[in-house]
């Protein structure tokens, strides 16, 4: 690791088993891009990748390896030449992987055949920055760190395995589909309308825990709730009325009303938004959300079954 980038962490699919102890579920913000990167290099989707935020790192290959870069387009380069996105390719010893600058999205994922070696904590390799556990010594990567490969690749190295754009989430659209939440009826009629019609922007205090949404304030008319278990995608309305969208490192329990939940097929799109980006929530039924989820999952399956 020559340069660490803005925030580069080891991530996998998170530690849902640990939320009963109050530990954030964590894992890749964009599970689709993370899984696709793994599948492109022949890994199971749960192996560890590097999540690179906004400004990517500079890495030098110590040995030859098969990698793939998915998610945000941070203009990846190998020895200065453009590297193909959403495609597996080989790096030789001494090859230098850099990122020239963000073109679209917020978080890119780098997978390596065999998966990155990392600390397993409570069943997951993902980095928990709050408790400094898991991932690479519980912290973001720094210049001088040396990353290893966890194990043998499951499949022989094949260059040029590619995921076409039509199988990916519609990253350029900033509409997030959401199912009405358990406490939607506590909002007054005007707030219910605004929630699904008004434009919101991702606020400056937004990170892996959640996004503060700037836009119309929502009026909650109910009494204080007893705390309950939360999920990624939940849209909470705290007392000030500006909604919060919970993301991968969200607190596990809380008592603010949940007025909507962004569905799993839209969370990858949310994960690629940056502070200042506009977004729009759109109501959807759970049946439609399941169909969207299945369509994306089927796209990932094509990478698994391409016989390479």
């Amino acid at each position: 690791m020559e340069k660490p980038g803005l925030l580069t962490t080891v991530q996998d699919l998170g530690r849902l088993n640990a939320i009963a102890a109050g530990v954030q579920p964590g894992g890749a913000m964009d599970r689709f891009a993370h899984s696709a990167a793994n599948l492109l290099v022949g890994n199971d989707p749960g192996l560890a990748t590097l999540e690179c935020t906004l400004f990517g790192p500079a890495l030098i290959a110590e040995q030859s390896c098969l990698i793939a870069i998915t998610g945000a387009d941070l203009d990846a380069r190998v020895n200065g030449a453009e590297a193909p996105p959403w495609t597996s390719f080989l790096l030789g010893p001494g090859d230098r992987l850099t990122f020239a600058g963000r073109r679209q999205g917020a978080r890119a994922y780098i997978a390596i055949a065999g998966g990155f070696a990392a600390d397993r904590w409570l069943g997951s390799l993902s980095t928990n920055l709050l408790t400094a556990r898991g991932g690479f010594r519980g912290r973001a990567l720094k210049a001088g760190d040396s990353l290893g490969v966890a194990g043998e690749a499951r499949k022989p190295a094949v260059e040029g395995r590619h995921m076409p754009g039509e199988l990916r989430p519609a990253y350029s659209e900033h509409t997030l589909y959401a199912v009405p939440g358990p406490h939607l009826k506590r909002l007054d009629a005007e707030s219910r309308r605004l929630l699904f019609e008004a434009p919101y922007a991702v606020g400056p205090d937004s990170d892996r825990m959640g996004y503060r949404l700037d836009g119309p304030r929502l009026i909650d008319t109910g009494e204080e709730l007893l705390s309950f278990g939360l999920v990624a995608g939940a849209v909470q309305v705290p007392r000030g009325g500006l909604p919060i969208l919970l993301m991968a490192d969200h607190q596990t329990a809380g008592g603010y009303p949940v007025v909507a939940t962004v569905v799993s097929a839209s969370l990858p799109i949310a994960a690629q938004l940056l502070p200042g980006h506009d977004l729009q929530l759109a109501g959807i039924t759970t049946a439609r959300a399941q169909a969207m989820r299945k369509a994306l999952a089927a796209g990932l399956e094509t990478l698994r079954d391409d016989g390479c």
Partner: protein
């Protein structure tokens, strides 16, 4: 009981809107029963609710809601009394003078009232190792601080509303800090990584000079 979707892979089953030990006991038992199902990835009891994460390839909201109603209709198993933790507290927190004054009590009264009950762990969550304990005696009930602190030290013993708790990590917090303890709540090298579990009982005792 209200059962409603939390997106496409989870749901919230609300047993009640009241803070009652019997309802919390039912919620914990229901979460434990649901966790044994193959189509359930995780089930977490809240004060009076259960949040269920399910495998959408094996279950739907409808199939799981029906299963939850069947399980909830069964007589809950007799609850074993939760483990009892005795927690030493030095009641020298930065807010104890302010709390005494606002409640019109002496510092010793605050200590006597806070150490009197055996509290129940209603729920573990929010941040790693945090446990919502209660009910706090009515005499000590105060709304949260107007200005939350940006950093509360580990081990701070705090009160707010009808609840009490111990900060397991340095985190922001809006509760009133009345004391501190050396007991570690967050145990990163254990699994589960926390001292308290839902349904446990907690008794504080004073080691103040």
């Amino acid at each position: 009981m209200r059962i409603q979707p939390l997106g496409d892979t989870a749901l919230l089953a609300e047993l009640s809107t009241r803070l009652e030990t019997a309802i919390n006991t039912r919620a914990i038992a229901l979460a434990a029963a649901l966790k044994k199902r193959r189509d359930v990835r995780q089930a977490i009891a809240g004060y009076a609710s259960v949040t269920v994460h399910f495998d959408p390839d094996q279950a739907t909201h409808e199939s799981l809601a029906a299963a939850i109603k069947r399980l909830a209709a069964k007589r809950p198993p007799m609850e074993e009394p939760g483990r009892l933790h005795r927690i030493p507290v030095n009641y020298d927190g930065p807010d104890i003078a302010d709390v005494s004054e606002r409640l019109n009590l002496s510092r010793n009264d605050v200590i006597a009232i806070h150490t009197r009950p055996i509290y129940r762990v209603f729920l573990v969550g929010f941040v790693p190792g945090w446990a919502y304990l209660g009910p706090l005696p009515e005499e000590l009930a105060l709304p949260r601080r107007d200005l939350p602190r940006t950093q509360v030290p580990t081990g701070s013993v705090a009160i707010a509303g009808r609840q009490t708790g111990i900060y397991p990590l340095p985190t922001p917090g809006g509760w009133h800090l009345i004391g501190r303890t050396n007991v570690k709540l967050f145990l990163p090298d254990s699994d589960p990584p926390c001292l308290f579990r839902a349904g446990d009982r907690v008794k504080f005792f004073s080691i103040s000079q």
